[in-house]
Structures are given as C-alpha cells and as structure tokens.
Subunit: 209 residues, 2 copies
C-alpha cells in the first residue's frame, strides 16, 4: 500500500471519511501542520529576491530553511500516526486466554500506548513551532501574500489542538502516571503559549490586509 | 494540468510552498474544511450499525449525508479558489496603454474582485456549516472515535478563519462599498457564531476523552 503522502487529496479524504480506523484525526493534524509549514515557505519564496524586501532577505532565507525542514517532519508524522495506531490495534488484538497471555498483552499495550502518546506530542510540538515561524512570516513577509501567513497560523493552531486530543486520549490509558503526567505537562505548556501567540499572529495579519 | 484534488498530498504541499501564486491559502482553507467534513463522516461511519448507538442511528445517517455533500462542496472549492485567483491575475494583466483600456481594465478587475470575494465567503459558509455538523458528531458519535469530532471542529474553524482573510482582502479592493459591506457583514455574522460554537464542541469532546 502506498504511503498517505503519495495518495491524492481526494483519496486521502475518502479514506479519512471511511470506516477504516486509519487514517484518522492524528494524520489530519499532521496534514494541517504540513500545510502551515508549506504556506510559511510560500510567503518566504514570494518575499526573497524582491528589492523592496532586501532588508529581511537573510532572515527569510533562514525562515525558509526552517519551514522546509518542519514540513518534512510533519509529512513524516502523517505516516507515523497511522503506524502507531496500527501497532496499538495489534496489541489490543493479542491473545488473552490465560493469565500469562493477559499479562503479556497488557504489558505490550502499555508499551505501545507510551509511543502513541509521544507521536501526537511530537506533532503538537511541530505545530507549535509552525506557529512561531508564522509570526516571522506575518511580521516580515511580502504584504501581497500576508494573508497566507494568517492561513498558516490557523492551520498550525488547528493541528496543535487536534494533536493535543490524541495525546490526552492515549495518556489517559497509561498506568505509568509519572510518564503520563510529564507528557501532559509538556503539552499544557505548548497549549498555553500557543493560544496567545496564534491570536497575535492572526491579528498582525488582519492589521496588514 | 490535473486538478489539485487529484494530486498527491506531497505534490499539493510542494506547490503550496512554491513561489507559484496558486494554490495558496484559499485552497488550503478548502482542504481544511474538506478534512473536517471527512472526519465527521468517519465518526458517522464508525457509529452507524453499532447496537450501542441504535438510538442515534437515524440522526447520524442524516448527518453522514450532509457531511458527504459538504465534503464535495469543499473539494470543489479547492479548485474554485485557484480559478478565481487566476482570473484576477489575468484582469490585472489587461493592457492599460490609454484611457479606454484603463477604464475597461479597471471595470474587469472590479467584476472579478466581486467573484473573488464571494468564493472565499462560500468557503467560510461551508466551514461554518462543518462546525455545526461537528457538534452533532461530538454530541452523539461513538465515544471510541470522539476525538475525531474534535479534530473536525478545529479543522473547520481554521478553514473558516482562513477563508475570512481572503474575503476581507478582496472586499477591501471593491469600489462598490454596499456590496463589499454586505459580504463583510455576512462574514462577521458567521465568525461571531462560530467562535463560541467551535469552543463548545471542542470542550464537549475533551469532556468525553
């Protein structure tokens, strides 16, 4: 089966809508984050090289490098979400006919649940990073495409809030509460910082329309 | 050239990131809205037919029909945004060597700007509708996939706020202020209603995790 990123948008949406378990919201969150990164790159690409914006050229060249690396990270996360979900389903499907099997199954579920908490947390971090990068695009980018920086910040924010739900749902099933609480605390930090930052970037864009 | 919906996600993101003028934020907004509609359908498809949810079966079957129609509408908008942007660029490119040409060019720009205001407004309306539909998915859907209703509402909200920027940017260039103000008033109505509605749906989902 081909990777999701190589499927057409129409096919991806068909599979998202279907009763197949994957792809689901976790992959959708990564796609939104990747759209954010791509739009930041677009603003850079349409600013770099224009004499009017010569003063910010170096800064936007660096921003472009960061946005492109982030886009690749987020594209990889589309697949990572599917992979860890499939592993989770496989561990739930392990035999549980006797106490030994039950104990092994439960242990395996806990191992995979940790991974299933860390994968969306990494997506949430990448989306939070996209919000940061969108601020530079909104502050310094070509005014002719500044609305794209506004779309980028909304896509990144939606990706973050979406990934957050998957962190929360999987952390809730963890028996290792120290581990779970550490991840949830990190997530809360990201969410607290992002809320105001995203609003600020969006308002910056609106003030420049 | 093939339509965007038939391109791979990776190619769409490459084109979004490039210095090509299209696709841009308008198409990204429609993709986010379509992801929202698809996720609402997913929640329906994983609820319908389950004995535990027999009581809401009819309601979710109707929701599925609405979500699927909305998804098709939003998929069509990915292309509509590119088409109207290309028309706008073409009208800006009209000759302006003499007064007659200048006047004809200006008139044509105004005609296309009206269309370029209405296209993202229609996308904003469709995303606002997706927020409404996500409420039913969050209230009545299978608890096992309720986080997907939360991802749906965030995607729809981001699509709406993104489309709004394109309405505002194009309405700003309109000489027919009555027309512009009517569209902006409609947009403000959508935004005012959506803000609380989206937050409410997201909180409903979080309370059920």
């Amino acid at each position: 089966m081909s990777e999701i990123k190589d499927k057409s948008i129409a096919t991806f949406l068909d599979e998202l809508a279907s009763k197949q378990a994957t792809p689901g919201g976790g992959s959708a969150a990564a796609v939104m984050g990747a759209q954010a990164a791509a739009l930041i790159s677009m603003v850079c690409n349409l600013t770099i090289g224009k004499p009017k914006y010569a003063e910010v050229e170096t800064e936007l060249k660096n921003l472009l490098i960061e946005a492109e690396a982030l886009r690749q990270t987020l594209i990889d996360m589309i697949k990572a979400d599917v992979d860890v979900f499939d592993k989770l389903m496989a561990s739930y499907g392990l035999p549980k006919a006797n106490d030994q099997e039950k104990s092994q199954r439960s242990e395996q579920i806990q191992i995979v649940l940790k991974e299933a908490t860390l994968v969306p947390l990494a997506c949430a971090k990448a989306c939070a990073k996209a919000i940061e990068l969108s601020k530079i695009a909104a502050d310094k980018g070509n005014l002719g495409v500044i609305s794209d920086a506004g779309v980028a910040v909304m896509a990144a924010y939606a990706g973050l809030k979406s990934a957050a739900l998957n962190v929360q749902i999987n952390a809730a099933g963890l028996k290792d509460r120290d581990f779970a609480n550490a991840q949830l605390a990190e997530l809360d930090g990201l969410l607290a910082a992002a809320e105001q930052a995203a609003l600020h970037v969006y308002q910056t864009v609106q003030s420049k329309l």
